[in-house]
């Protein structure tokens, strides 16, 4: 394993220490390794909380800050935090305006959240939650239970975060979050494996010159390993699948987010994004907003996720509202 690490048992506290250092003006650590804003938000505004395994930096704690999250609960490497720390985060965020918990659809996160939410309700905390499950490779819209939450969560953080910042009520923020969730879809492609930083073992295997669309999931939307295609061919296939899933029609407009998995360069992400626009335009869909970057990684995995979100006037305004977090700044 060609990684700069110390004792694998201390990975998470060590990385959080550096994270807090690098973004001292924006975030701070508190309690049992919770990440919060350096400057809190008034209690008459809804707070946003999320949780998730570590090893995906800058996600998820990189989105704590003005205009997005209030608290994140980082778990162990690739393992959700347990219910007690999630409950601690909900208590920390609790306020008259209420708390919106954003949960990505992965077994551990869902289990922990459910237990924590039940306890929070018993304590009388004002909490609602939204589940993101926009991975089109792992289930249909009609039967979404198996659809995982991928990089789309960041659109929910951004737009629900802007609604919260604008002083909207908990129900309204939830409505925005659910609206984003319903109108987004993500597909992932992998070309080279990641190494588990604690065990040093590869997480998956991929031969040189091969790629997997749907990233090893059921394969409904592409199927198994196949010969590596060009950037344009790959983008075209992914756009087609996402447009189908979303039912995006000519005349509509969309936001596109290209998310590098780790080792896939920003250079490649830009090349892909360029084709995504063309591919959308060929279908009469306007690319209203575009993003490229390594926002939610899987260590040094090669590949990317493409997320499309149907935009309307309200969502555009929420997207354009300013935010300032370690991993995303809009102004």
């Amino acid at each position: 394993m060609n990684k700069f690490l110390n004792d694998p048992a201390h990975l998470v506290p060590e990385l959080l220490e550096g994270f807090a250092l690098a973004h001292a003006g924006t975030v701070r650590l508190t309690g049992s390794r919770l990440v919060t804003r350096a400057r809190g938000k008034p209690a008459d505004k809804v707070a946003l909380v999320t949780l998730g395994g570590s090893g995906h930096e800058p996600a998820l704690s990189g989105y704590v800050g003005e205009g997005m999250l209030d608290v994140s609960v980082p778990g162990e490497i690739f393992a959700a935090p347990g219910p007690p720390r999630v409950l601690e985060a909900l208590r920390l965020a609790n306020r008259p305006a209420g708390v919106l918990l954003v949960v990505l659809n992965h077994e551990g996160d869902v289990l922990s959240s459910n237990v924590a939410l039940e306890l929070a309700q018993k304590e009388g905390l004002k909490v609602r939650s939204v589940l993101t499950r926009e991975d089109i490779s792992a289930g249909t819209r009609a039967d979404p239970a198996e659809r995982r939450g991928l990089v789309g969560c960041l659109l929910v953080f951004k737009m629900a975060g802007a609604a919260a910042e604008a002083g909207r009520s908990l129900e309204q923020c939830l409505e925005v979050a659910e609206g984003v969730e319903r109108n987004m879809a993500t597909l992932a492609v992998a070309v080279s494996p990641a190494t588990h930083p604690a065990t040093g073992q590869p997480i998956s295997t991929l031969a040189a010159g091969e790629m997997v669309i749907g990233m090893g999931q059921h394969g409904e939307a592409g199927g198994g390993s196949r010969r590596l295609l060009s950037a344009d061919e790959t983008a075209d296939i992914m756009v087609e699948a996402l447009v189908q899933d979303l039912g995006l029609a000519s005349g509509e407009e969309a936001l596109a987010l290209v998310n590098g998995a780790g080792a896939t360069t920003l250079m490649e992400q830009y090349i892909v994004l360029r084709r995504v626009r063309r591919s959308l335009e060929e279908r009469g869909i306007r690319l209203a907003r575009a993003l490229a970057g390594s926002f939610l990684t899987v260590q040094e995995m090669g590949g990317f996720q493409l997320c499309l979100c149907r935009m309307n006037r309200e969502r555009l305004a929420l997207w354009d509202a300013p935010c300032h977090t370690p991993a995303l700044s809009i102004r």
């Binding site: 690739f78 959700a80 219910p83 551990g108 922990s112 237990v115 065990t199 997480i203």
Partner: protein, 213 residues
């Protein structure tokens, strides 16, 4: 060991279960590497170390205190999917454990409550290749033994046997929950790691119960 499990007996049983899991951690991770992300041993080891630390830190007042403290320790270990499931088993056991000691019937009642606690947290059912495929047979065996008037240690022995057999048999199943579900048919052939953990835990209970402290 008496005909009913007391506070001391239960603590010995929990420590023994932890030891079994810690010794089996490499094998558990190996099983998880087929369909999962290869960390089940690491996670369960972290969970069991949390249990041992909790036992060391605060002497529990009674059997349900002990179970509750083990449950919270597991819940709090950031254990991905396994943490909340095993944690809710022990927490729900605690709810179901009435009285100062547990005879076979009381133990069966507690474990049934534990099983129900797990089931509340997952849509997985028997045959879906999860920890339930060891846990449910173990609890059923406990209930049957208790109903036929079997002594608590003998009942535990049947439960441990059923858990081991359930874990072994899970190899033939197709995963429908947890990360391994993504493998579909290819998940057939290896036992489920969570079920293997259940077998180790019940084996630990039995060994801890049999030893005299």
């Amino acid at each position: 060991m008496p005909r009913a499990i007391g506070r001391e007996d239960l603590e010995r049983m929990l420590r023994s279960a932890a030891r079994q899991v810690l010794e089996g951690r490499a094998e558990l991770s190996r099983l998880d590497s087929f369909g999962g992300d290869g960390d089940h041993g690491t996670t369960m080891a972290r969970a069991m170390q949390s249990v041992l630390a909790a036992l060391d830190a605060a002497p529990a007042a009674g059997v349900n205190d002990l179970l509750r403290s083990a449950g919270w320790a597991i819940m709090g270990c950031d254990g991905g999917a396994a943490g909340p499931l095993f944690g809710s088993f022990f927490l729900a056991c605690a709810e179901g454990a009435a009285g100062e000691t547990l005879d076979a019937a009381a133990l069966a009642r507690a474990c049934e409550a534990g099983l129900a606690g797990v089931k509340k947290n997952t849509r997985a059912r028997l045959g879906d290749k999860t920890l339930l495929d060891a846990l449910e047979p173990a609890v059923s065996a406990l209930r049957a033994a208790a109903d036929s008037g079997t002594e608590v240690l003998a009942a535990l022995e049947r439960a441990a046997g059923a858990a081991a057999e359930g874990a072994r048999a899970s190899a033939r199943l197709r995963a429908r929950f947890g990360r391994a579900k993504n493998l579909g048919e290819r998940s057939v052939g290896q036992p489920d790691p969570g079920a293997a953990s259940v077998a180790l835990i019940f084996r630990g209970f039995l060994l801890g119960g049999q030893s005299d402290g």
